[in-house]
Every structure is written in structure tokens, then in C-alpha cells.
């Protein structure tokens, strides 16, 4: 009721805000809370004995070590690659920056299991591409990517975009005057760099590093595709193997593991928030022309080098994937007489599992995008207009289901929905548990762009409609929705993109009949149908890139801060 008295706008606003807020909180925060309760209880009583037992198991300890090693070194690779690109793109006079930024965003948008699949296609003895070129190592030699080093390399490439984006945003916020002031005071060359630019960028670099570590820690696709064949388990793959092998009887045990991942992740998220808040203090109000350092004669060589790196990490694996998808059987070299579309037709048209998976993934992704749009538009507007204590708390926590590793959210969802309260019904094993998990996970993906655009909207827009007699519903329909539609559309496309590609959540929640595309690629590769897996992966990559181009083309119509790769 506090909502009503603070704002005179209208009672219906307060009522609607409370209603949507309750729905949103039960969607996003209830599962996380449920997992926490499970972790600190043991067969109904409060206790930590099971937790202690699970945490002492050697498999837990080795998986924890593997997770920390791969996520840690993977983050290091991301930092090196991402910050090199960020410094060069943000601070110098390189040409074709927009194209470069767009290409650097692709690794983040391509699902990790496809990244892993594509890289295994350009290395190892059975690589179709290497065989075609006559460069393949002899049969029987090991796949070099099936190792900790392989996981580290691919995690590093997958998440370099995160470092790139946060650091670039931080660098662009440094006004040129800061450097000019240092030079006029007599600082030259590397000294300016070291004493002025570096200290100012450190908070954004630290924030980016922390969130990259959390994302790498929660990554399931890469360690699953590369680590499981090598017997190298990380925490997410350990949870998956336990649950896949023994079913829900080990639910209590895997909850503890999920809590463990969650605890490490929350530490990372808090680190990131700490640095992000420090960054804001630094550069408040001072944005004029961003820095632009002329590279001079070095410009062309630097450009060639950057594009070569982009080709190596992006184009080459895609060629590997394409080559594998065009041969009749895995291991056959690609020549004019062996090229065939057999795998494509088989996987897209004949296999009932893949058609079903397409339908499932499309349905889930479109459903999630539509439901989230309907929830987030009014919610973001009402939260902006009538901030209450509860809405502010929710604002600070709503990123949690997206920031937490997918494995954690999946286990939380199983715990919450395996037995619906007050009934014997269960959602576990149905498509609805995946759907609800998607809504929770991608809530922030939809909410943040909409919120960013509504923050820039003049509050008088709504008030003007109110003063001429428009009811709450009419104001939303005629003024707020049309004005925030571009941002909502961008948010919906992003939700669709991420949900369409998603593997981590559905890998733990799927059952026969509710497979998603991510699960099918993983299973096809697991059962040796690599050509078909590659054809399917190629299709998904094309869909992803088409949608990204669409967002890019529409980006001029969006308010600032809506398209994630245009900061």
C-alpha cells in the first residue's frame, strides 16, 4: 500500500506495479531462494552435514580445481585478447571499426557447444578440413583440444567479447582533455599511458574480468564437448553427469554442488559490482570528445594483424564446420566428387528429433520473448515512475538468474517445480520447466534495454496523456508502448537469440520429446554423428548472424544503451 500514498499518479498504477512485481519476483528470485533453502537443510531439518559430506568427496574437489583452473586461465586469455582489441579499437584511428566490433561480438552470440564443435573440426586426425588440405596428423594421434588447455583456449575466445565491450565502454568515457592535460604538464609517451589512461581504465577492466570469470565458470558447452571425452570434469559437467546418470535421486547432492558454483559466482558478481561503482565515481559528467590516437605508418600492419586474428578465431572454425557438414561420412576428405548435402537434408528434413528440436527451440524462444516483453514493458515503466523499496531491491537482484551459472538455475528450477506446492503434479520432464527457466534466466536480457529506453523518456509524455483523461491501460497502449517499442523489439530479439541457442539450462531439464537444438547438437556429436551435428550447427550460426545483422540494421532507431554491442 506504500505505493499508493507516495505517488498521486493513480491508484491503478500502484496496484498493477504490485501485481507484476510479485509475478516477476516469483519467476526470477523464488528459484534462487529455494536452492538456498535446500542447501542448508538436510532431509527437512536445518543442517549442513550432507553439504560437508559432498564437499569432502574427491570428485567434488577435483572438479572444483578444474573449474577454477579452466575459468581462471580462460579469463586470462580473454583479458589478453579482449583488452588488446579494446585499446586498439577504442583509442586509435583504425578504419572499419564498426565491422570489427560486429565481428568481435559474434563469438559471444555463437553458442559454446558450437564453438567447441567447430574448433574440433579444424584440429585432430579426423578433421575434414585438414585432410582436404593434406595437413591432418596421422590417425591415432590425440585430438589436442580434448584437454584442459583446449578448454582454456576456447573459453578464452568465447568470452573475449565481454572484456572487449566493458573495457571499450570505459575507454570511450575518458575525455581527450585528460590526456591533453597530462601532456601539457609535460608527461610524454608511455608515461601518459601508464599514469593517466591505465588508472582510469582499471575499474572497467577489473569489472569485466570478474564477470568473465563468472561466465567462464558457468560455461557448460565447452567443458562438456571437450572435457567429457578426456575425462576432465568441471563442476557444471560433474552436476550434469551425476544427474544424467542417476536421475533425481541425487538431487540433494547436486544442489550442494550448485550452491558451491553459485557461491564462487556470487563472489565474482560482487567483485564486478564493486569495481563498476568505483568507475562511475571517476568520470562523472566529463564526456567530451573521446580519445583518438593516430597510429601513423603502423596503421595498416595493425589492421592486417587484427583482421588476421578475427579470421583465425572466427572464420577458420566456421570453414571447418562447413567442410565437415558437406562430407558423406566423418573422416572422408572434402573433394569435388565427395561433396554432398546429405547431412543437411538428413538433419533438417528427415530426423524427427531435429525437427522436434527446431519446433521446441523456436516455440520456447518466441514464447519467452513475448511473455517477457509483456511483463517487462509495464514493469519497467511503473518501476521508473513509482520507485518503492521493494522495486529498488528487485532492480538490484534481477540480474542474478542471468549472471548465475545456468547449472545453478536449472537445479533451482528442478527443486522448485519437481513437486508443485499443494498438489502431486510435477513440471519436471515437461517443456514448461524449460520455459519457466528461460523466463527467469532471460528476464534481465529483456528488462535492461527496455529500462534504458524508458529512463530517457520524458515523464511528461505519460502525464500529458493522463491529464487529458487517458486511463492506465490507454496510456500504456497509446503512449508508453509505441515509444519504447524499438527497445522492446531489440530486447525481444536478444532474448530469442540467447534462448534459441541455449544449452546449459535445457541440458539438465530436457527429457525425450522436449529436446532443444542445443541438446540435439550435443547428443549428435556425442553419438558420433559429427557431420549432422555440423550441418545443424551451421544452420544455427546462420540464423544467429542473420538476427544480429537485423539488430545492427535497426540499431539507429534504438535509444542509446539498447543494443549491447553499441555502447
Amino acid at each position: 500500500m506504500g505505493v499508493l500514498t507516495k505517488n498521486g499518479g493513480s491508484r491503478s498504477e500502484g496496484w498493477l506495479l504490485s501485481t507484476i512485481l510479485i509475478v516477476a519476483i516469483s519467476l526470477t528470485l523464488a528459484p534462487v531462494l529455494r536452492l538456498f533453502v535446500e542447501g542448508v537443510t538436510d532431509q527437512g531439518a536445518v543442517g549442513l552435514s550432507l553439504a560437508g559430506e559432498v564437499l569432502r568427496q574427491p570428485s567434488t574437489l577435483s572438479a572444483l580445481k578444474h573449474s577454477l583452473v579452466t575459468a581462471g586461465f580462460g579469463t586470462l586469455v580473454s583479458v589478453v585478447l579482449g583488452s588488446a582489441f579494446a585499446f586498439l579499437v577504442a583509442l586509435t584511428d583504425l578504419r572499419a571499426k564498426a565491422a570489427l566490433v560486429f565481428c568481435l561480438m559474434i563469438p559471444m552470440m555463437i553458442p559454446p557447444q558450437i564453438t567447441a564443435l567447430s574448433w574440433t573440426q579444424i584440429m585432430g586426425p579426423s578433421s575434414v578440413l585438414l585432410k582436404t588440405l593434406g595437413l591432418a596428423p596421422p590417425l591415432g594421434s590425440p585430438q589436442p583440444l580434448y584437454s584442459a588447455q583446449g578448454i582454456i583456449l576456447l573459453l578464452g575466445i568465447q568470452h573475449m567479447s565481454i572484456i572487449f565491450l566493458t573495457l571499450r565502454a570505459g575507454l570511450r568515457a575518458i575525455p581527450q582533455e585528460v590526456v591533453e592535460a597530462a601532456r601539457i604538464s609535460g608527461a610524454r609517451g608511455l608515461r601518459t599511458w601508464w599514469q593517466v589512461v591505465m588508472p582510469l581504465t582499471l575499474p572497467s577492466l577489473a569489472a569485466g574480468t570478474a564477470i568473465t570469470f563468472v561466465t567462464a565458470l558457468g560455461n557448460f558447452g565447452i567443458p562438456a564437448m571437450l572435457g567429457i571425452p578426456a575425462g576432465y570434469a568441471t563442476l557444471p559437467t560433474l552436476v550434469y553427469q551425476k544427474l544424467a546418470g542417476m536421475g533425481t535421486s541425487v538431487l540433494a547432492e547436486v544442489s550442494i554442488l550448485a550452491m558451491l558454483i553459485g557461491a564462487v559466482a556470487v563472489t565474482g558478481i560482487l567483485t564486478q559490482r564493486f569495481f563498476q561503482s568505483r568507475q562511475r565515481v571517476y568520470l562523472v559528467g566529463a564526456t567530451s570528445r573521446p580519445l583518438a590516437i593516430p597510429l601513423g605508418a603502423a596503421r595498416l600492419p595493425v589492421e592486417v594483424l587484427l583482421w588476421a586474428v578475427v579470421c583465425t578465431i572466427l572464420v577458420l572454425p566456421m570453414f571447418g564446420l562447413l567442410a565437415t557438414s558437406l562430407v558423406p561420412a566423418y573422416g572422408v576428405p572434402l573433394r569435388l566428387d565427395t561433396v554432398t548435402l546429405q547431412a543437411w537434408t538428413e538433419v533438417l528434413l528427415r530426423q524427427p528429433v531435429t525437427t522436434r528440436a527446431f519446433a521446441n527451440s523456436f516455440g520456447l524462444a518466441i514464447g519467452a520473448a513475448v511473455v517477457l516483453m509483456l511483463l517487462c514493458l509495464p514493469l519497467a515503466w511503473l518501476m521508473e515512475r513509482n520507485p518503492t523499496r521493494l522495486s529498488r531491491l528487485f532492480d538490484s537482484l534481477l540480474d542474478l538468474p542471468y549472471a548465475l551459472p545456468g547449472v545453478v538455475l536449472s537445479i533451482a528450477m528442478i527443486l522448485l517445480l519437481i513437486k508443485l506446492p499443494f498438489t502431486d503434479a510435477t513440471l519436471y520432464g515437461t517443456i514448461w520447466i524449460i520455459f519457466l527457466a528461460y523466463l527467469a534466466r532471460f528476464f534481465a536480457v529483456m528488462f535492461r534495454p527496455v529500462q534504458a529506453s524508458l529512463k530517457q523518456l520524458d515523464p511528461a509524455m505519460g502525464e500529458a496523456a493522463q491529464s487529458v483523461g487517458a486511463s492506465l491501460f490507454q496510456r500504456l497502449r497509446d503512449v508508453i508502448v509505441p515509444l519504447s517499442a524499438p527497445a522492446a523489439a531489440a530486447g525481444a530479439i536478444l532474448v530469442f537469440l540467447t534462448a534459441f541457442n541455449e544449452l546449459t539450462v535445457s541440458a539438465l531439464l530436457w527429457s525425450s520429446g522436449t529436446e532443444t537444438l542445443g541438446v540435439v547438437i550435443f547428443n549428435l556429436d556425442d553419438s558420433g554423428e559429427t557431420a549432422m551435428a555440423s550441418a545443424l550447427a551451421m544452420t544455427i550460426v546462420l540464423v544467429v548472424m542473420a538476427l544480429m545483422v537485423l539488430v545492427q540494421l535497426m540499431s539507429r532507431r534504438f535509444p542509446k544503451g539498447v543494443v549491447p554491442w553499441q555502447t
Binding site: 498521486g8 499518479g9 483523461g469
Partner: protein, 347 residues
């Protein structure tokens, strides 16, 4: 059309009071200006009238209808108050063309096509926008946007029109012509209008009565002429016109005339009080003469076109403003005579 009456109206934001105990009535068909420095509570008062904010104490009635009553826990939301509001930022909906912006209030009321078209055309014509009906707001100039905002609140015949510094974003020349648009609009419609501004010349030019506000209170609510000639207290005297307030001692009343000591000279004053304590000295109360009792030195000269404004410092240190047609130089000594200023009592 309706009276607006406020009683014991107060508003606090997070415990900090913005308006105190406002009790007054805006009469039916009156053009009222709320005038005051920024932060005086004038916009808060306007938003309370519109219903965008809820009062912390007191009540508001528009015509016979009580629209907000804190003790009775009654609050009519803005959409049900039948008022018009003109925003400083105009608040035109950028995704609707001029015609749709203007006709939207009628659309909301579920009128038929014909019932919408006729009044919309009329409103567009009254504001001289007929030729721009199909443009988008982004294709209009500032003055045109303001007229669309005015047409939008004209179209549904509101009981009262509230205007929140509508001219603040326009340049000086456009402001003068928009003032005419507003006064014509008021004459034609006879609507009760409440106009917030911090520009006293704007308020003086348009309003029937001006409520001068400071620190969340109405300091004086009178016609422009009364405000200027008979200010009630120091704030009004200094804020309206270029008044210098100085203390007065030894007040004596004889045959309905008041006399007192001001800046060391004994002069006749006018007042509504029996025992005033201060006088307000405006340029028209000061005459420059060699024989003047009050000696002062010229500190600054500003040319106003045809006359000069002299900022002078009296021997006692008080700054006084005088107007003259003759030219004086900075540093010159001159004599001033005070003629019947307005006096008021101030504690």
C-alpha cells in the same frame, strides 16, 4: 469552468516540506499566475492541482467536486479531473502527428468520428495550426509545438488549464507573441487558468491576479498593480519590481497621513498598516535634485534606452536605484528626495 479552492494544503517530499498550509481560491474564469524563485513550491502546487502528486495535508476542490482530501483519504486521479495541462517540455507524443496529438483527448472519451473531427478542426484553427495538421511534432518549431500543446488541452473543454512555465524554452521574441496567444485563448474560452512562471514581467502582462510564492507559502495574492504598489512584506517588495526595503522609525499618524524617519530624513508614507516598520523604495519614489536631503554616490550606470538606471550608494551604505534622463558618471555625488513610498510592517 469552475472555481478552484484549496484549504490547508501541504506537501512534503520524503519529510522535507515543499508547501505549507495553502488556503486560497482561484475564481472561475480567472487567469492566475504563480510567481516565485525556483524551489518556492509553485510547480509542486500546480502538480497537486493536476493530481500528479498527492498532498500530504489539506484538500482541493475543483468546482463542486472535491478532488483531493487527505483526511478523507479521497484522491481523484488526474485522468478523471477534467483539467488541461501544458508542460514546459510540451510533451507532444512524437509518434503521433499534430492532428492525432490534438484529437487524442476525444479519442479517449470514445467519441464518434464526426464528434472528433469537428472540435479538432476548430482547435487547430483557433491555434493557427490547420496547415500543419499532418506534420509530426519533430517537424515543428518551438512556438508551433507550444500551440499544439495548447490546442490539445483546448479540445476537450477542461474545467481549468494548468500551465507549467510554458514559455521557458522559447526565445525572447517568440515569448512575447506566445503571451498574446495565451491571453487571447483565455479571453475566448473563459477557462480558469493557472500559470506557473519565474518571470515577473510575464506574470504582470497576462495574469488577473498573481500569487507570489516563497519557501512553500503564498506571500501575497493580488492584482499585478496592487502587488507592485502595495507589497505586503519584504520578499514581495524586493521580488516584484526593483524595490529596496529600508527600515523606518518614529512613525506618527496625523489627519490620516503617516510620517516617519527613513534614512535620516522625515517623509510622508502610504500604508495599509497603522504602525509600519519598513518602506519599499522604487525608482519612481526617488527624485534626483541638488537640494535632496539624502546624499548618495553613483556606483553604476546602465543605459536603458532613453533613460539611465543609476545604482547609487547612500552615505549610510544602502543601495538605491534611481532612473534619470540626464547622464551621470560613476563616482558623482548627488542628492535624492523620497516621495511617498509604500510602507508595511515586517517583524
Amino acid at each position: 469552468m469552475a472555481d478552484i479552492s484549496l484549504s490547508a494544503l501541504g506537501k512534503s517530499f520524503a519529510g522535507a516540506p515543499a508547501l505549507h498550509d495553502i488556503t486560497t481560491t482561484f475564481k472561475d474564469g480567472e487567469f492566475v499566475a504563480l510567481l516565485g524563485p525556483s524551489g518556492c513550491g509553485k510547480t509542486t502546487l500546480l502538480r497537486l492541482l493536476a493530481g500528479f502528486e498527492m498532498p500530504t495535508t489539506g484538500q482541493i476542490s475543483i468546482g463542486p467536486r472535491e478532488v483531493a482530501h487527505v483526511a478523507g483519504n479521497r484522491m481523484v486521479p488526474p485522468e478523471d479531473r477534467n483539467i488541461g495541462f501544458v508542460f514546459q517540455s510540451y510533451a507532444l507524443w512524437p509518434h503521433m502527428n499534430v492532428r492525432r496529438n490534438v484529437s487524442y483527448p476525444l479519442e479517449i472519451r470514445r467519441f464518434s468520428k464526426a464528434e472528433i473531427t469537428a472540435p479538432t478542426d476548430q482547435a487547430l484553427q483557433a491555434t493557427g495550426l490547420t496547415d500543419y495538421a499532418d506534420r509530426m511534432p519533430s517537424e515543428l518549431s518551438g512556438g508551433q509545438r507550444q500551440r499544439v500543446a495548447l490546442a490539445r488541452c483546448l479540445v476537450s473543454h477542461p474545467d481549468a488549464v494548468l500551465l507549467d512555465e510554458p514559455l521557458a524554452n522559447l526565445d525572447v521574441a517568440l515569448r512575447a507573441s506566445m503571451q498574446t496567444v495565451f491571453t487571447d485563448f483565455h479571453k475566448r474560452t473563459g477557462a480558469t487558468m493557472v500559470y506557473v512562471t519565474h518571470d515577473q514581467s510575464e506574470a504582470m502582462a497576462m495574469a488577473d491576479r498573481i500569487a507570489v510564492m516563497d519557501k512553500g507559502r503564498i506571500q501575497q495574492f493580488d492584482t499585478p498593480q496592487t502587488l507592485y504598489e502595495r507589497p505586503k512584506n519584504r520578499f514581495v517588495a524586493e521580488f516584484v519590481g526593483r524595490g529596496t526595503v529600508v527600515p523606518m522609525r518614529g512613525v506618527e499618524k496625523s489627519d490620516s497621513a503617516l510620517h516617519g524617519h527613513v534614512l535620516g530624513t522625515r517623509i510622508a508614507v502610504q500604508s495599509g498598516d497603522d504602525l509600519p516598520s519598513h518602506v519599499c523604495l522604487r525608482p519612481e519614489n526617488l527624485t534626483i535634485s541638488e537640494t535632496g536631503d539624502l546624499r548618495a554616490k553613483v556606483a553604476r550606470v546602465t543605459y536603458l534606452g532613453g533613460k539611465y538606471l543609476l545604482e547609487t550608494v547612500a552615505d549610510c551604505g544602502t543601495r538605491l536605484l534611481a532612473e534619470t534622463r540626464a547622464r551621470f558618471d560613476v563616482g558623482m555625488q548627488l542628492g535624492l528626495t523620497i516621495t511617498t513610498p509604500w510602507a508595511f510592517s515586517e517583524e
